[in-house]
């Protein structure tokens, strides 16, 4: 994993982030908002980005790090080009979404929370996307795939491999 984590933020990204910090600095409780925007800009929140935020807001890096690691949506590592998120909410779980996750892991040869070597896919699990009527579901980027069986997984993943 580590070799993919090398930070290669651009000056343009940094400028954008600094603009966000300036805009939001006076909003009470702005840290969460800035982190959300920063993750939108960089795709994840490596320590370098956290440092820019801590300096910009004149707060300690440990405070920023504390908030980042508290919330599951903030990620310290980069995500794949295609973000797979298998729902493990109750409605999906009782309909066998654990088997869907197993199959995705098997197909890609990585575990939940990891990113493939080529950076094409990353797998996460989530708790309920609210499409319980379609259980079990998984999301790839913003697309929801519902009423899944393990057999359907390969075909769905192949679609994303082709557009590489």
């Amino acid at each position: 994993m580590d070799k993919h984590c090398k930070f290669c933020g651009t000056a343009e990204q940094e400028q954008k982030l600094k603009a966000v910090i300036e805009e939001s600095r006076d909003m009470p409780g702005c840290l969460m908002h800035i982190l959300q925007e920063a993750q939108g800009i960089y795709g994840f929140l490596p320590i370098e980005v956290q440092k820019i935020i801590a300096e910009g807001l004149n707060i300690s890096l440990s405070e920023v790090y504390g908030v980042v690691t508290f919330y599951s949506q903030f990620s310290l590592t980069p995500k794949g080009k295609n973000r797979i998120s298998v729902c493990l909410g109750t409605a999906c779980y009782v309909k066998g979404s654990d088997k869907i996750l197993e199959e995705v892991e098997k197909q890609l040869g990585i575990k939940c929370g990891q990113c493939t070597e080529d950076g094409l896919f990353s797998i996460d699990s989530c708790r309920c996307v609210g499409a319980c009527g379609l259980a079990p579901v998984m999301m790839i980027n913003d697309e929801v795939y519902g009423k899944l069986t393990p057999k359907m997984v390969k075909g769905i993943l192949d679609k994303y491999r082709e557009v590489k």
């Binding site: 009470p28 409780g29 702005c30 840290l31 969460m32 908002h33 982190l35 959300q36 504390g66 908030v67 508290f70 919330y71 599951s72 949506q73 903030f74 493990l88 909410g89 109750t90 409605a91 779980y93 009782v94 309909k95 088997k99 197993e102 098997k106 989530c126 708790r127 309920c128 996307v129 609210g130 499409a131 319980c132 009527g133 379609l134 259980a135 579901v137 913003d142 929801v144 519902g146 393990p150």
Partner: protein
């Protein structure tokens, strides 16, 4: 905006909305007045958009244009409730209810039904609306809708949530108008107290009392907050309200602001709900433009504005003090109470926090009166409750029923029973804080107190139906994995207790359980209940305790006989081929992902249990029932 202007908007579109509420002849007459011969409502909630309702709308608009049907209106609404059969589309004034609509269906419906003199396309109608004699019955009379009573969801699936004028015409902001022009803050609080409305987020604290405490607190600044951090897995009530009728929440928060003396509101909403977030943002923007938020609302001199804050995926932020810490931009950790938020809450100022569904009940209470509201439901639990019905049930979806409705009515009538002829085993309510209601309690009325008496809780409204294929030990383990993962780590009983409970349960599901484990679980659970800082830890043992209460035999089987009767706990069974029944078709061997099955064509096959990963594909594929699980 003045009250006259508000009334004018309501009047101008009221017929349009009325057509969608009354089905039958009256609707036809009214439809003529509106200038729209047909109105086509398509669900744009998360459930239906996931099954591509947006493509249905695109196709519909295209076909309508091609056919030159200028008197047909297409409306993208919120959730109709029957999510399992989405995308859903209703055509008014006749109220034709189409289910599982594809773009192709939409094209045919436009050509055959929406054209002048067109007829309903029967084969695409929801099967529940086709009576045995061939007649089409109104969808409101189908088993799924008949026993429902929509108060909180009154406008969901009726209006276009992104159009404030439709919301106004459907009755939103009428209560705010009434409050600002005819009621004092005390009147409002008294009405809320008399209504008996209790918090719909789970704990069931009387809303009116919460408001009266905050009113009594002296402070220059006070806050009104909305908890839209619906983190309970399998629950989507609040999301549906936000997606279907966001204005009702804004209005109710303004009413509360007037009642307690606050000018600032915050909505804390899950970032995992992109559609709800977008509609809320649109709603706030429109409400400001129309002067229904901001300075001097309806010329009353009352100021109120709302900010939206996004969560970032932490279940504990549904707890009130944790939620406020998160809005303040910190780690969302709860703090000890007292002081309660009504005294010292957000930014250390007096704050009230109610969840979305609670807010959705405020307008009807103000408009129809507390006496009307408290006449619905039971004595101690007035009104209705929205449930997200999921799991092993035919009609997965969103239902709103009067308090006191029995579980049997919800499962068998509204829910349409268990699919595949399986047996009902239990209903899980209250999510990770709640418990399981076993089949023996299926006639218990659903209200706050009855559920607590049988060891579960109302919770926010997730209701997951479990059948005989669900292992109760495994489901407890599932919830403990959740709470162990989501425990914020601030207090020791919850941080370590959830981990230890999970270890014990894992041990049992792996066939390593010892008889003393149950005692350990019970003792630890009691400590966690008494000493955890917030409700997350205090209620985390509930799923285990309630399953122990009703399904103790399953725990004993796991521990003593090393058997999982539901066939879920993989360590406790193996697959075998019954030689007499096997025809040697090779289907199982071809499908086995680990090549654990061998045998020649037309000869009985054998499973190598050492290789088998117990995925169950063979048993699912076998056409001769030749594979058994022991």
């Amino acid at each position: 905006m003045t009250t006259q202007q508000l009334d004018a908007i309501r009047e101008s579109k009221s017929d349009l909305i009325k057509v969608r509420r009354i089905v039958k002849e009256e609707g036809e007459k009214l439809a003529k007045k509106t200038g729209y011969r047909k109105q086509v409502l398509v669900c744009g909630g998360t459930g239906c958009t996931s099954s591509h309702s947006m493509k249905v709308i695109e196709q519909l608009e295209k076909s309508i244009k091609e056919l030159g049907l200028k008197d047909v209106l297409v409306v993208k609404t919120g959730c109709f409730g029957l999510c399992a059969l989405g995308p859903i589309m209703i055509v008014y004034p006749e109220g034709a209810f189409y289910s599982q609509v594809t773009p192709e269906h939409a094209k045919v419906i436009a050509e055959k039904h929406l054209v002048k003199g067109g007829e309903m396309v029967r084969e695409y109608l929801y099967k529940g609306t086709l009576a045995e004699d061939g007649k089409v019955i109104p969808f409101a009379e189908t088993p799924f809708y008949k026993k429902q009573m929509r108060i909180a969801l009154r406008n969901c699936g009726v209006i276009a949530p992104e159009d404030i004028e439709e919301a106004i015409a459907a009755g939103d902001y009428a209560a705010l108008e009434k409050v600002l022009t005819t009621m004092t803050p005390d009147d409002v609080i008294n009405e809320m107290l008399a209504s008996g409305l209790r918090g719909r987020g789970g704990a069931g604290f009387p809303t009116g009392r919460k408001w009266s405490f905050a009113k009594a607190s002296q402070s220059d600044v006070k806050y009104v907050c909305c908890n839209a951090d619906e983190g309970d897995p399998g629950a989507f009530m609040d999301r549906s309200v936000l997606e279907g009728d966001p204005h009702c929440v804004l209005e109710a928060m303004a009413i509360a602001g007037y009642a307690i003396g606050s000018n600032n509101g915050f909505i804390y909403v899950r970032a995992e709900y992109p559609v709800a977030v977008e509609r809320l943002q649109i709603a706030v923007k429109q409400a400001r433009e129309y002067g229904l938020l901001g300075k001097n609302i309806l010329d009353s001199g009352f100021d109120f504005d709302i900010e939206i804050r996004l969560g970032a995926g932490a279940f504990v932020c549904g707890e009130e003090t944790a939620l406020m810490r998160s809005i303040e931009g910190h780690r969302g950790e709860p703090r000890p109470r007292p002081p309660f938020p009504a005294v010292k809450g957000l930014f250390d100022k007096p704050t009230i926090l109610n969840n979305v569904e609670t807010w959705a009940n405020v307008n009807p209470i103000i408009m129809n009166g507390a006496a009307w509201f408290s006449s619905i439901g039971t004595k101690t639990s007035s009104g209705t409750k929205v449930f997200a019905l999921g799991g092993k049930i035919t009609n997965v979806g969103l239902v709103e029923v009067p308090m006191g409705t029995t579980l049997r009515e919800i499962v068998e009538e509204i829910g349409g029973g268990i699919p595949g002829g399986k047996k009902f085993k239990a209903a899980q309510t209250g999510g990770p804080s709640g418990g399981c209601i076993p089949a023996s309690c299926i006639d218990v009325p659903i209200d706050y107190d009855s559920l607590i008496a049988i060891g579960s809780m109302m919770g926010s409204g997730g209701m997951i139906i479990l059948d005989e294929d669900t292992c109760m030990v495994d489901i407890s383990k599932f919830y403990l994995e959740f709470t162990a993962d989501e425990s914020c780590g601030k207090c020791t009983p919850c941080r370590i207790g959830t981990k230890r409970l999970l270890q014990l349960l894992t041990k049992i599901t792996e066939g390593k359980g010892e008889p003393d484990d149950i005692n350990k679980i019970q003792e630890l659970s009691e400590h966690m209940r008494q000493s955890s800082l917030c409700a997350l830890g205090q209620t985390a043992p509930n799923p285990i305790l309630s399953t122990l209460r009703y399904f103790r035999d399953e725990y004993d089987e796991h521990i003593n006989k090393k058997v999982c009767r539901a066939g879920v706990c993989k360590a406790l069974f193996t697959y075998h081929i019954i030689a007499d029944k096997c025809r040697g078709c090779t289907l199982c061997a071809r499908n086995c992902p680990v090549q654990a099955i061998s045998g020649a064509l037309k000869q009985p096959h054998v499973i190598d249990t050492a290789k088998c990963v117990k995925c169950g594909l063979c048993i699912a594929n076998c056409k001769f029932d030749a594979i058994e699980r022991i």
